[in-house]
Amino acid sequence: MKALCWQGVNELSVERVPDPRILNAQDAIVKVGLTTTCGSDLHLLGGYIPAMRAGDVIGHEFLGEVVEVGTEVRRHKVGDRVVVCSIIGCGRCWNCENGLWSACDNSNPDPGLTDMLWGQPSAGIYGYSHATGGFKGSHAQYVRVPFADHGAFAVPDGVSDMDALFCSDAAPTGWMGADLGGVKPGDVVAVWGCGAVGQMAARAAMLLGAERVIAIDRHPERMTMTERHVGAETLDYTRTDVIAELKERSGGRGPDVCIEAVGLEADSAGPKRLYDRVKQRAGLTLDRPAAVREAIYACRKGGSVFVLGVFAGLVDKFPLGAMMNKGLTVRGAQQHGQRYIPRLLDMVSNGELRTAHMATHTMPLEHGPHGYDLFKNKKDGCVRAVFRPWA
């Protein structure tokens, strides 16, 4: 089959690779219909997430058709149109049963790597390095879906593929930030990042009753999209003092909930940007946490900060003093998508949630390297490049 493979830092190519097989009785094989770039892929591409091997198939946000099921798959059959959660969860460990799907104990066959790195092993993730199980990604014609009864969700009739696609990752990730960040009616919510996850977090905050939602970015086309399709206010961090502006817009209190949707390659304005970049380039720090820092300083006393962006290691200049003395709740997670996807598909079905506008560029899988170039460098207003492996 055809697949988009990581070949080295900033190097991708489309290759012929072996078709996936059913290896466990609870596996399904899905013929990929649509698969999209995600901001977290850029960390792989840039070499910030170790444990990638030349030839690894990337991609984790996808939708397709079930073409084969293992003998223990009960909820799906051949021909089902499904959207698959990017995080693999077994559904039966204590964490999965308690809704903490990205903390699944059983879905990472290479647990020692993240166990050593973080003190506990992470869950498996499609196409996201051997630290998260070494599963082949979705930028391919077929993908193996372990624990298919728990990770694949039937797409309701009447919902288009493109609308359902983002229920695989961007929409549940954003929803989780607002939900677990504790957004309540009347809240002021600030979201760092107007990419797909940031837009979905902003929309989720609005649907959960936030009075005012302010999204922060520097790319005009993304900010315009957020205003037009999500209905949130926006702030350009290169043109204003974000913390002062957020204070002014929240009566001096600061936002009740701050959601960071940027990750380890965050940019900032001023000398801090140079400082973080130099340290990262010199290998003195793995992550650039500019947005997390700002969120902690901006948040109201006793408020909540949720970190949705992907981080890998240690960060420098983390404002622990502000966090402690302001009494903040700081939380983060890879997405617990399985607990949100059914509800999100219903919301897409009844028109409460719109996602298809984020697919700014659609192309055959053969154009994958070009798609990532557009996406990474934000050329031509690219918010998400979506690949059609069978086009």
């Binding site: 493979c5 444990a51 204590w94 049963e97 066959p109 050593m116």
Partner: protein, 157 residues
């Protein structure tokens, strides 16, 4: 003056010797504690399910009498705490590093068996890694391959 310097040097030397002796005692005691440590997993199943008909889960049972095992109910309705440790001595210090790289530290087999037991008891299967691979050999890839091969038996478990 000469005598005072000599005395200070002697006292310093004795002090350093005592510190080193105490530190090496502490280090040996710590090594003994580490070697005797139980490796534990909590399985989201009741003890009578984990020990169905008095038998250990298959991956752990395969280790036979090379391990010591303990089972107790986890607090808060979290299932069963299953622990094991090798009966044979485990390598320590520099030999431990070599043994772990060579896949010969007996704790690696115990960690793997505990993880597989948990997965089997909770899900009914041991999840297999993707195959066949799509990767090509590179020098960095070979190092990663070694780490991945050991990953099932490694970590802080």
């Amino acid at each position: 003056m000469k005598r005072a310097v000599l005395g200070a040097v002697s006292l310093g030397g004795i002090g350093l010797g005592v510190m080193r002796w105490r530190s090496s005692r502490r280090s040996r005691a710590r090594t003994r504690r580490e070697a005797a440590r139980w490796l534990m997993v909590t399985i989201n199943r009741r003890p009578e399910e984990v020990l169905a008909e008095g038998r250990l889960p298959e991956p752990l049972a395969r280790l036979g009498d090379t391990v010591e095992v303990r089972v107790r109910e986890a607090p808060g309705g979290r299932g069963t705490e299953l622990g094991a440790r090798p009966l044979a001595g485990v390598p320590t210090g520099a030999t431990q590093v070599l043994a772990r790289l060579g896949g010969e530290d007996p704790r690696q087999a115990v960690r793997r068996a505990l993880r597989e037991s948990k997965c089997l008891m909770e899900t009914g299967e041991v999840l297999l890694p993707d195959a066949p691979p799509s990767t090509r050999p590179t020098p960095a890839g070979k190092i990663l391959d070694l780490a991945v091969q050991r990953a099932g038996g490694e970590g802080r478990l």
